[in-house]
C-alpha cells in the first residue's frame, strides 16, 4: 500500500510541474491586469524550441534557455496588442494560442520521432536520495525543484515587497498606481513577459525532461488547465501548487485506476470540465468580486481617456 501511495506521489509531482510553472507565470500576468489566453501557444513554442535547440547543440541548458526566450518573445506579441494597442485581451490571447500551435507544428515536423541525444537528468542529492522510501522524492530533475522553490519566493515577492504592492495595485486600479508615479505599462509588460518565460519553461520541461520527444500538439491542453488553475488558485502561488499537483495526480491516477474499471477518458476529461466550469463562473460579475479577481483584469489602461 505504502509503495502504491509513494509511487503515485512521486509520479504526481513531475506530472504537475509543467502546470505549476505555467500557472505561476499566469498568476503574475493576471495580477497585473492582463489575461493571457495564449499560455497553450507559448508553452508549445517553448516545447518545440527546447527540443530543437537541445537536439542541435546536445546541451540541455541551452535548450531550456532558448525555450524561455521563445516564451518571452511569444508573450511580447500579446503584450504589444493588449497593452500598447489596447486590443481585447481574449481575442489577442486566443490568436496567440493558435499561432503557437501552428508554428510549432511547422517547425517541429523534422523532429517527429527523433530521439533526443541528451535529456534533463535527475539530480542526485547525497544521503537524501539514498534514503529508503523518502529517497524517491529526492531524485527529480532540477526544474522540479526550481518550480517548488519559486512558490515561496513568488509569494514573498507578491505580498511582502514594494514591487509586489506595485504589481497588485496595477491589476486592481491602474489609475491609482499611475497617479502615484508608477509606470503602469512597464509593470504590465514585465508581468506578461514573466508569464511567457514560465510558459516557455513549462514547455521545455515537457519536451526535454518529462517525455523527451517532440510530438505535435504535445502540450495537449495543459495551457488551458493553467488558465483554470490560475483562477482556481485565486491568484495565489501556494494554492497554485496545490492545484497543479491535484491535476497532476488525476493524470497519474487515470492510468492506475484503469484496471479497476474506471475508464481513462473519464478522468482525462476532468481537468477540462473543471476548466469550463471555472471559465463560466469567472464571467459572472458577482462571483468575480467575491473571489477577488484583480479588479482591472482585462481592462486596457490609457491615461488621457476622456
Amino acid at each position: 500500500m505504502i509503495d502504491f501511495i509513494v509511487s503515485v506521489l512521486t509520479l504526481t509531482i513531475p506530472a504537475g510541474t509543467a502546470l505549476l510553472l505555467g500557472t505561476l507565470g499566469e498568476v503574475y500576468a493576471e495580477r497585473s491586469g492582463v489575461l493571457n489566453l495564449g499560455v497553450e501557444g507559448m508553452m508549445i513554442m517553448g516545447a518545440v524550441t527546447g527540443f530543437a535547440v537541445t537536439f542541435a547543440t546536445k546541451n540541455v541548458v541551452l535548450g531550456i534557455l532558448a525555450a524561455s526566450l521563445a516564451g518571452i518573445l511569444m508573450s511580447l506579441i500579446h503584450a504589444y496588442f493588449s497593452i500598447t494597442l489596447r486590443v481585447n485581451q481574449v481575442v489577442s490571447g486566443l490568436a496567440l494560442t493558435m499561432l503557437g500551435l501552428g508554428i510549432s507544428g511547422l517547425l517541429g515536423k523534422q523532429f517527429i520521432g527523433m530521439p533526443l541525444p541528451v535529456r534533463l537528468q535527475p539530480v542526485h542529492v547525497p544521503v537524501l536520495s539514498d534514503l529508503p522510501i523518502l529517497g524517491e522524492f529526492f531524485r527529480f530533475n532540477i526544474l522540479v525543484y526550481i518550480s517548488i522553490l519559486l512558490v515561496p519566493l513568488l509569494s514573498f515577492f507578491l505580498y511582502k515587497t514594494n514591487w509586489g504592492i506595485v504589481l497588485r495595485s496595477v491589476g486592481e486600479n491602474p489609475a491609482a498606481a499611475d497617479a502615484m508615479g508608477v509606470n503602469v505599462f512597464l509593470v504590465r509588460y514585465l508581468a506578461v513577459m514573466f508569464g511567457g518565460l514560465m510558459a516557455g519553461l513549462a514547455g521545455a520541461f515537457l519536451s526535454v525532461a518529462y517525455a523527451p520527444a517532440w510530438i505535435e500538439g504535445m502540450t495537449a491542453g495543459a495551457g488551458w488547465i493553467v488558465i483554470a488553475l490560475t483562477i482556481f488558485s485565486l491568484y495565489d502561488p501556494t494554492r497554485a501548487m496545490l492545484g497543479a499537483y491535484l491535476f497532476g495526480g488525476v493524470r497519474v491516477l487515470q492510468f492506475r485506476l484503469q484496471p479497476l474499471g474506471i475508464p481513462a477518458n473519464l478522468l482525462n476529461m476532468l481537468p477540462f470540465l473543471v476548466t469550463i466550469l471555472v471559465l463560466v463562473l469567472i464571467s459572472e460579475q458577482a462571483f468575480r468580486r467575491r473571489i477577488g479577481v484583480p479588479a482591472a483584469l482585462m481592462q486596457p489602461y490609457s491615461r488621457e481617456e476622456k
Partner: protein
Amino acid sequence: MSEVPTAVLMKGITKRFAGVVANSNIDFEVREGEIHALLGENGAGKTTLMNILYGIYRPDEGEIYIYGKKAHIHSPKDAIALGIGMVHQQFRLVQTHTVVENIVLGTGNGLRFEEEEVRQKIVDLAQRYSLAINPDARIWQLSAGEQQRVEILKALYRGAKILILDEPTSMLTPLEIKELLQTLRRMTEEGNTIIFITHKLDEVTAVSHRVTILRQGKVTAVLETAKTNKVQLANLMVGREVLFRLEKPSVERGSEVLRVEGLEALSDKGLIAVNNVSFTVHRGEILGIAGVAGNGQRELLEVIAGLRPATRGKIFINGVEATRSSIRERINMGMSYVPGERMTALVPNMSIAENMILKSYRTAPISKGAFIDRREMLNLAQRLIQEYEVITPGPEKPVKLLSGGNIQRALMARELSQQVDILVAAYPTSGLDVGAIETIWRILLSQRPLGKAILLVSDDLEEILTLSDRVAVMHNGEIMGIVEPKEENLEKIGLMMAGALKLEQEQWV
C-alpha cells in the same frame, strides 16, 4: 505685500481635446503658503488645468514654473518629485489593499518593504495633521471622508508641499467638511500650499486666501477673497445672473401614481443601502429626494426602476403592485426612468432618431410588422428635436456627437414622448452648463400641469429646492423626513442630511 514667493506659475496654458478647447491661454499663479481656490462651473476646465500641473495631461501650449524654476512635468512621477500632490475627485485608491499598502505604493525602490517603519511614519504624519486613520484597515471598509484622509496622507508621505484638492467636499458630510477645512488651515501653517478646486461659493469664502475664477476654459478674474463677495464671484463664474427664477405655477395635486412601502434593498457590497423607505408621488407634483451622495439614493431609484431587486417592501404603480415586475412591464404601467449616467440610456453610435425610438419601435406608427417605418421615425425625431430644443446637425447624426445638455434633452424627449405617468429622474442636470440646466428644469416643470408625477433625485440642493413640491431627505438609506421646500425648512433639511434630525412620520407632509 506681494513679496511672498510664488509656488506655482502656469503661463499661457492651452489644452484641446478632440477639437474642444478645455483650457485656453490660462495664466495661473499660486503663492507659497496660501489656500488658493480655483472656482468655476462644471466643465470650466479646472480639473484639466490641475491634471496638467500633476502631469496626467500634457499641455498643447504653455509653460510651468515651480518655485520660480521652469518645470518639465511629463508624468505624475515628475510632479511628485517637484513636491506636488493631488487628491482626485474620484479617489485613486486600491479598494482591496490596506491603508499602508496604498500609501507606500510606488515609493521605495526595491524589494524591501519596511512595514514597521512605514507604519510609524504614517502614524506620525496622521497625528501631526490630525488625520485619524487606522493604517491596517482596507480601503473598502472606510467612509468617503476617511478615504480622502488616506489620499491626503499619500501626498504628504511623498513630501508634497503643494497639494491640489479636486472638489474635495463633494462626497463629505457637513461635519467632515468642517474637519477637512481645519486640516487645510493646519497644513498652510506648516508651510504647505493648497490649491482647492470647487464650484461652491461658500467654501471659497470660508477657507481661501485668493481665488482664480475660470469660465469656459478662460480665466475671468483673480481676486483676494477678503475683498470680494459671493454675488461678485457668482457673476464671474457664470457670466450672468445666476438665480434664474423659474415660473412655478401651483398645480392641483392629483391622484397617487407611485407608492413605495417599507422598501429595503442591498448595495453592490451586499449591505443594506435602502432601509424601510415609504413614500408616495402624486399626479402634478415633483417629489425631490435630497441627501449627501452615497446615502442610498442611487439604489432606491434602481429598485423602483426594476434594475435592482427589493429584499423587502412593495412598489405600486397606479395602484397595481409592481415589486416583481420586469422593466418592460413597468414601462407599460406608465413608468419612465432617466438614469444619472445618461449615456447608459442611449446607444452612442446610433443616430439621434434611432435613439429616440428605442422605446416606441415596437408599436405603430413606427413599427410596420417586422420593419421600421423610417419616414415616421424621422418625422417623430424632427418633431421632438424642435419641441425639446435639441441642437443638432441633423436627426441622422450619431448621438455621441451631441454635447451633454443636448444629449439630456434628447433623452428627456424620448422618455416624455411616451405614455408616462411617473418619470423617475436621477441627477438630470449633473455636468451640464447653466443654459442646459435651465431647459431641463423647464421641461421638468412643464410636466406638472399635464398631470404627470416626477420623482427627482439630485445632489444639488438648489435644484431640489427650486423644482420640488415636497422634499424627502435621505440619510444612510432611510428617509429622515419629508418637508416643503420653504426658506424656514432649510435648517431642518441640513440637519436631516447630516443625520442629526429625524422627523416622526406624522410630521411629514
